[in-house]
């Protein structure tokens, strides 16, 4: 269907009409120990897109996300955030948030303290921050849990806190690295639905790493399939389905078709990966 093999990694993949949120220009990453994390990659994600990265483990999904979060520096090539450098990130219209696989909460702080952290670090006065914290907690359905400590919450609730913390700064781009990977199927589906709704209402650009075919198809406007050894972009699939998406989409024939298509692409990516062959 919408799948297109990538003839060369330099193919730009953003819809032409929207302004880019992040541009990855010929970026590669060789780690200090000589491991090749990524071969030169070109990828443009437009403002408002929901892009999922999927691929065999070790294909560089987390590396790519860390590069976009500026947690590591590219060995070669460069990145642009809203057509500018990272020093401008954080200004209005250029806010970046990240959600990790585990909730990564401060165990010593209450839920509200955890959610307030980005505002505290930006030195926002407490009385100004409080309503925003309340709003973020309401968005993830945890309004009555602000006074609790993380250890008093279930895994799914902790993940919600982590998302509330990411949303409290009203980000323009949200990076998520397998955020629901450790949760059971039921909780994951609920959080997926909630996230999809939040994304639709808030319009933040999202780059979402996942292992789940269903999750990727359900959430994304576009899926980027990656292959390993060396880490590279392998194929992209557009998911042409309007939002809001609900359970009707999850159980539709179209959904099943997309899943099958993605599954085949993943298998091919796996075979094309150096490590895929001896599995």
């Amino acid at each position: 269907m919408a799948a297109a093999p990538l003839p060369s990694p330099s193919l730009a993949m953003a819809p032409a009409e929207a302004a880019p949120a992040v541009e990855i220009l010929g970026v590669d990453k060789v780690f200090a120990d000589g491991t090749r994390g990524l071969t030169p990659i070109d990828l443009t994600v437009a403002q408002g897109e929901f892009v999922s990265l999927i691929g065999p483990s070790g294909c560089g999904k987390s590396t790519l996300l860390s590069l976009i979060a500026n947690l590591i520096q590219p060995t070669d090539g460069r990145l642009l955030w809203w057509r500018g450098g990272f020093d401008k990130v954080g200004q209005p219209g250029r806010r970046l948030s990240i959600v990790f696989q585990d909730a990564t909460l401060m165990p010593w702080a209450r839920v509200e303290g955890n959610v307030r952290l980005p505002l505290d670090l930006a030195r926002m006065p407490k009385d100004e921050a409080a309503p925003r914290v309340d709003e973020a907690l309401a968005l993830v359905g945890l309004s009555s849990h602000g006074r609790l400590y993380p250890r008093q919450l279930s895994g799914g609730m902790r993940m919600r806190v982590s998302i509330a913390r990411a949303l409290v700064t009203e980000p323009d781009m949200l990076l998520m690295d397998e955020p629901f990977g450790a949760l059971d199927e039921f909780t994951r589906n609920r959080l997926d639905s909630d996230l999809s709704e939040l994304w639709r209402l808030r319009g933040f650009t999202t780059i979402f790493v996942t292992h789940s075919i269903y999750e990727a198809v359900f959430l994304s406007t576009r899926i980027v399939v990656m292959a390993a050894q060396p880490g590279r972009l392998f194929r992209e699939i557009e998911i042409d389905e309007p939002f809001p998406r609900g359970d009707a989409f999850r159980t539709s024939a179209k959904f099943a078709d997309y899943c099958r298509e993605l599954s085949v692409a993943l298998m091919e990516a796996s075979l094309a990966s150096g490590r895929g062959r001896d599995r």
């Binding site: 500026n70 954080g90 990790f100 990564t104 401060m106 010593w108 930006a122």
Partner: protein, 266 residues
Amino acid sequence: MTPLAHSERFKTYFPPVATGIAMLAAWEAACRWFEIPVFLVPAPSVVADSFLNNASSLFRALGSTLKVTFIAFALAIVIGVLTAFLFVQSRAIERSLFPYAVMLQVTPIVAIAPLLIILVKDTQTALVLCATLIALFPIISNTTIGLRTVDPGLANLFRINKASGLQTLLRLRIPSALPYFFAGLRISSGLALIGAVVAEFVAGTGGRSAGLAYEILQSGFELDIPRMFAALFLITIAGVVLFVAMAGLSAWALGGWHDSERRIEA
């Protein structure tokens, strides 16, 4: 069963207390039955008697020992924490100083005490110095490890939010270090008491500033064994109280969040 027998407190405290009472009773009975001479092993009742008769001098001695202990403990905390902060500033500083901290730790305090007591004129200062030296290491090493043990995910989060060095220290490193610091406190409090008593033994100070070690030495010279036991009993009690106090402080500070202080839910 009565509600008392069901309560958690009862289940926690009854077994050790019962064991203690049974052992004291057996000890008392054995002393009387076999007519063991008082200068070998005095019966608990004789020790208690001696304790009451010598209470004023024993408690004065306890006060003196505790004063040394507390000053040394406080000094160890201040010096230990400052050293730990210095160590985490740079690996180079840690690498050049850490071996000496280890040397300080492995050298038996009894071996340095005579030297210190000769070198330092004021005996009280020498005692504090000995006890500080012995209590210092656990605080340095625990706090250093604690300040370094930071969740890498949280560290990344702070970086993405462009946290300053000071913000990272106050909001991330110090809270992360607290459980380690308190574990260090628990060990150090006991060591400070041991250091104080050992130093007193070596110094053998008498007069107004005589500590519990002096009471024990003096009782030995006078073959007043019950008084010796009474002094020993006081040292043990002081050590237990210190430990419990530190455990309580740790539970109070970390109770809300840290695993080591969580009650096991039945």
